[in-house]
Symmetry: C2
């Protein structure tokens, strides 16, 4: 016996989300049946609206309603720095610090030989074009994740851009603020010692 068609469809839709299998999807679908009519309608509209109204900024690749995005279109931002991140989410994390006032570039991925992702599969070509056509940019800050793929991507960008006279920097490695030294892993400790600063 099958579930009634409407719930089978909904379960099927939920299973298309990452990390949600058949059991979780069934649980979510039944939960949905018990939700307020208004919340369910709002959810459906949010899905449609997000897909319809959001695009990638043609300059930096960030997710935006307008093109160029609000950051690229803002003349008060520091036009000399471009911070390169893996995902649009990372732009938000950085913006929430309220300390960085330059521009961004979203790669939409990292170099990953294991997953067969090379330089042509991520948003690097548009970064190069951007640097060639916009002479105001003097520094590229690579803010890829602090794992081996993020490091490899940072190294690649550094070798690609430095010959063109662009300053390429990388976010500092070290102890997370508030963390205990005896819980830090060895690589982090080594990096923290290497990158020590004078008091």
């Amino acid at each position: 016996m099958q579930y009634p068609e409407p719930i089978a469809q909904l379960i099927d839709s939920y299973t298309k989300l990452p990390g949600i299998g058949q059991k979780s999807a069934t649980r979510l679908a039944f939960f949905t049946l018990g939700m307020d009519e208004e919340d369910v309608t709002g959810f459906a509209q949010a899905l449609i609206a997000a897909k319809r109204d959001l695009h990638f900024c043609s300059i930096c690749g960030n997710i935006t309603e307008s093109d160029p995005c609000v950051i690229c279109a803002d003349p008060t931002r520091d036009q000399t720095e471009v911070l390169v991140v893996e995902q649009a989410k990372d732009v938000m994390a950085m913006e929430n610090t309220r300390e960085y006032h330059g521009l961004y570039h979203v790669l939409h991925g990292v170099l990953s030989p294991l997953e067969g992702k090379g330089p042509d599969d991520i948003n690097i070509a548009s970064l190069v074009t951007r640097l060639q056509t916009n002479e105001a940019i003097t520094e590229v800050i690579v803010a890829t994740n602090a794992n081996s793929e993020g490091e490899a991507t940072a190294m690649y960008l550094s070798r690609l851009l430095k010959p063109a006279g662009i300053k390429v920097t990388r976010l500092a490695h070290g102890l997370a603020v508030g963390s205990d030294i005896d819980y830090a892993d060895e690589m982090t400790l080594i990096k923290a010692v290497e990158g020590r600063t004078e008091l």
Copy 2:
């Protein structure tokens, strides 16, 4: 800085689902942006349709498009047995065995003093009415979950219905098929010995 409105709305909708916090909701929302237009539209339609087209069967409480549900409306099913389950999902699990051919009754919950759920909060009154008005039913099989709340509900139903001359039975406890004795918990082993059958 805030996310663009459409994605903030979508994140908000995802956080209303059980077990999905802010981080997971953000991940799901960004994943949604990368999904096929068709899949997203299908998802939105499935949400609306499930909420609009599905109802509870007025007889057994199961989730259905038509009322009464296909099981209650099927004259070839054994009209003498009613299997009582906690959730509509459990009906499906039972149906998938293809071995039970009687009717169902969905409680939509269990007795749970800790959560303040008493007999009036679950679908028990309609079961009593059903048994009073339908004399064909001779046996109620209680198939609540095998935990303390499921057991308490089974005991309650048994005390409530037995005086009316209805046979009340409970699913057997014992070793799951394919399981190892040395991995079984003590209560299961005790129940398995108590309920041993002659070969």
